[in-house]
């Protein structure tokens, strides 16, 4: 098998020392030659496991075959059947645990670089403007979508293609949800990628109303009862940032990762021409080990701070993508594993001056199967720092559940929905982080797609 002997093509990237000082995209992606060479590695399995492993079931061998043949427009058309945000997914999906993680080539060698190929096709299509999805004839039914993040956009895309009159309500001033406020420019360029993918969704006739806070400006009840929407999809996202509950967390200079990233991404605090301030000081400690922690740490580094990540387990348990951890390390983020904060220390003016931590050991596995960390008695020590960023996940925002009659939530406060997004309230569907708690862009998109299908069935069966 000749395909096996070609090594996996690596995408070129900015040098670590250079990129650690700018907000330009880290990876350059594939050139045409690189993409075709990498595409030629695909074995075109009869039962492609990659497709089943993709939350939106992109026909992966199908589009890769067209890339190998140099027919990029056809490749883009294949992806567009299933994915509304290919340029986003090619960049931020955890391919290593999904499509690439199930690629047969990965058993003995390295899997096909599906993410980079998807990104290549999406970027090529954007630059050459060939394939545009088209909407069916309007069917006269109105559907409202709460939130313009990945789940909402994916849901809107599929419904618009089926001919629905779709309006997306976004609480912030800009559409995109976590793609705008959460994921940094150096991983996901905002104008080039996010804005243009949203433009594609709008070209299908989807309307996006910004500055509308569901539960306040409008309620789901009023959308259904007064504004003539036949169904509502709630993709309102993750919600309120978690803190540790340790002393000193309200000192000046302690931020949630959500705040820090929103200031820098949505509000563009890193740019001279934007007014929103951001504070790092000389040294920053980021608490947590997920993708959001990596994003916060790499952002702090780019703003000029000496940056350390503290995490209570070991490197092997870090929940972030390997690629992000690797990039952060290359760029110079310091990692202190088996370390857990016990107190934030402030100066006489109430500003952070350090963080007291305790060393941890790994004990017995907990319910998640990971060995749970236990504190080592008497091992407390202090790290000097000017800022602390808490990247500990989120808890659901209660606003929508509280203002919608008959919408059930679970013990943790997440909206209860089945795998098709069906909730306890007739005509109300939900998906993404509002249902699952903080997860990934692609899982949210998958939930949005499934809900779109369920909404179509609900309305056409009425």
């Amino acid at each position: 098998m000749a395909a096996n002997r070609i090594p996996r093509v690596q995408a070129r990237a900015q040098e670590p020392a250079v990129r650690a000082r700018n907000f330009e995209e880290v990876s350059y992606g594939f050139s045409i030659e690189e993409a075709q060479l990498e595409a030629s590695r695909c074995l075109h399995c009869k039962n492609p496991r990659c497709v089943g492993a993709c939350p939106v079931n992109v026909n992966i061998p199908g589009f890769i075959g067209y890339v190998a043949a140099g027919d990029f427009a056809s490749a883009a058309a294949v992806i567009a059947e299933d994915s509304s945000l290919p340029a986003v997914c090619g960049r931020v999906c955890p391919q290593e645990t999904q499509c690439e993680g199930s690629c047969i080539l990965g058993v003995k060698g390295e899997p096909v670089s599906i993410g980079n190929l998807e990104r290549f096709v999406a970027d090529w299509n954007r630059e050459n403007g060939v394939v545009k999805p088209s909407a069916a004839r309007p069917n006269g039914h109105k559907v409202a979508i709460i939130g313009s993040g990945p789940s909402g956009l994916a849901c809107a895309y599929d419904l618009a293609k089926l001919g629905y009159d779709v309006t997306v309500f976004e609480a912030l001033h800009k559409a995109g949800g976590v793609l705008e406020y959460g994921i940094p420019e150096f991983r996901l360029p905002k104008e080039k990628v996010v804005a243009s993918e949203i433009a594609t969704v709008k070209e299908l006739g989807v309307k996006i109303e910004t500055n509308v806070v569901a539960g306040r400006t409008v309620t789901i009840d009023s959308l259904l009862d007064k504004e003539g929407f036949s169904a509502v999809f709630v993709g309102s996202g993750a919600g309120l940032p978690r803190f540790m509950g340790i002393p000193g967390e309200n000192f000046n200079g302690v931020f949630s990762a959500n705040e820090f990233l929103t200031r820098n991404n949505l509000m563009k605090a890193y740019r001279e021409d934007y007014m929103t301030p951001i504070h790092t000081g000389d040294k920053v400690v980021v608490v947590g080990g997920g993708n959001v922690a990596m994003d916060a740490a790499r952002t702090a580094l780019r703003l000029g701070a000496d940056t350390t990540i503290v995490y209570r387990r070991t490197e092997a348990e870090l929940p972030a993508r390997r690629e992000e951890i690797h990039h952060a390390m290359e760029e110079g983020v310091r990692f202190m594993m088996l370390t857990n904060p016990v107190e934030v220390i402030g100066d006489e003016k109430g500003w952070v001056r350090g963080i007291r931590c305790i060393r941890m050991d790994l004990g017995e596995p907990d319910e998640s199967g990971r060995r749970s960390p236990v504190p080592v008695q008497g091992s407390e020590f202090e790290i000097e720092t000017d800022s602390v960023i808490m990247a500990l996940g989120t808890s659901p925002n209660p606003l929508i559940a509280r203002t919608t009659s008959g919408l059930d939530t679970n013990r943790r406060g997440c909206i209860v929905a089945d795998e098709n997004g069906v909730t306890s309230r007739k005509g109300v569907f939900a998906g993404g982080d509002a249902v699952t708690g903080a997860a990934t862009v692609i899982l949210a998109m998958g939930a949005g797609r499934k809900a779109a299908a369920a909404i179509h069935e609900y309305i056409s069966g009425k």
């Binding site: 609480a171 912030l172 001033h173 406020y181 910004t210 500055n211 509308v212 806070v213 306040r216 400006t217 409008v218 996202g237 919600g239 309120l240 940032p241 803190f243 509950g245 967390e249 309200n250 000046n252 200079g253 931020f255 949630s256 959500n258 705040e259 929103t262 200031r263 949505l266 509000m267 563009k268 021409d273 934007y274 007014m275 929103t276 301030p277 504070h279 003016k349 109430g350 925002n397 209660p398 606003l399």
Partner: protein
């Protein structure tokens, strides 16, 4: 875009604007706030809602120049537009939840400091229209900086004006006025509400405690998104971390850690002052 229908300067530092925002105007309640952005590149600035007209589709906001962004807001004129106005945000005032019977027996005293008079106005108006007894104390440094004097007179039973320099009304602080009303004039209130600078709300709460009065305050904390996402607005209330944007902005004053809230409010002050244009104070007294 959200067009400014009218604008007037209430004092050299405070402007009032009526802004088109139809969805917001039809859903706003007393006690809530909104967030504006002047233009792309601008900050998201939380402001209290001082009136709303569902029929006209407009809201009224009052802004005091304190930093670069509030200077930019006050520089806009009628006919100009905000790029964004989002809201209403926060929980409506507690009395919105009360039944008519519960409201009947209430006697409210509002304590408004500086621009705090603007958000007090819709609350006093709502209660007054429903026949609830309402007294209002407005305080300002000097008579020229007093706002909402005439508007307020129309929505309460008794209006008390105080100035630090004695240029109008009672010579002294709002807290002194409150003590005078309760201790000397024997006024009995069931509820006090203070809105204004954090330091004023702190001392108004201390006074209320001394007088045995329940106290509600409206906290104007730092915010970025204003929808519960960032946690910049977190305050300690009753020993617990609370988010002013989604659980407030109104809290039981007796439980608020004001010193922490004041410290957090000033977090970006050095950054703000660096971009603040010089505001001439000559001839304006102290």
């Amino acid at each position: 875009m959200y067009r400014i229908v009218s604008k007037e300067m209430l004092t050299p530092l405070v402007c009032r604007m009526e802004v088109e925002a139809p969805r917001l105007a039809s859903s706003a309640c007393p006690g809530q706030f909104l967030i504006v952005r002047v233009e792309e590149g601008g900050e998201r600035i939380p402001l209290t809602i001082s009136d709303f007209d569902p029929e006209k589709g407009t809201v009224v906001i009052v802004t005091q120049k304190i930093g670069a962004s509030t200077q930019d807001i006050c520089a806009l004129e009628a006919g100009d537009a905000f790029s964004d106005v989002a809201g209403p945000l926060g929980v409506p005032s507690e009395f919105m939840e009360m039944s008519e019977d519960e409201l009947k027996g209430q006697r409210y005293v509002f304590i408004a400091g500086g621009v705090g008079a603007a958000p007090v106005y819709p609350q006093a108006k709502w209660l007054h229209e429903r026949g609830v007894a309402v007294d209002v104390i407005i305080g300002a440094k000097t008579a020229d900086l007093m706002i909402y004097r005439d508007e307020m007179a129309g929505v309460c039973d008794n209006l008390y004006v105080c100035t630090d320099d004695g240029s109008e009304g009672f010579h002294g602080l709002v807290t002194g006025m409150l003590e005078k009303l309760v201790l000397e004039e024997g006024r009995q209130y069931t509820m006090a509400v203070a809105i204004g600078p954090m330091i004023m709300m702190k001392f108004a709460t201390l006074t209320a405690k001394k007088l045995g009065l329940p106290m509600t305050v409206s906290l104007n904390t730092l915010m970025v998104d204003g929808t519960g996402m960032c946690g910049a607005c977190r305050v300690t209330v009753g020993g617990k971390m609370r988010f002013a944007c989604v659980e407030g902005p109104e809290f039981n004053g007796h439980e608020v850690d004001f010193d922490e809230a004041m410290r957090r409010q000033g977090m970006y002050r050095t950054e703000e002052q660096a971009t603040e244009p010089h505001v001439c104070k000559i001839g304006r007294g102290r």
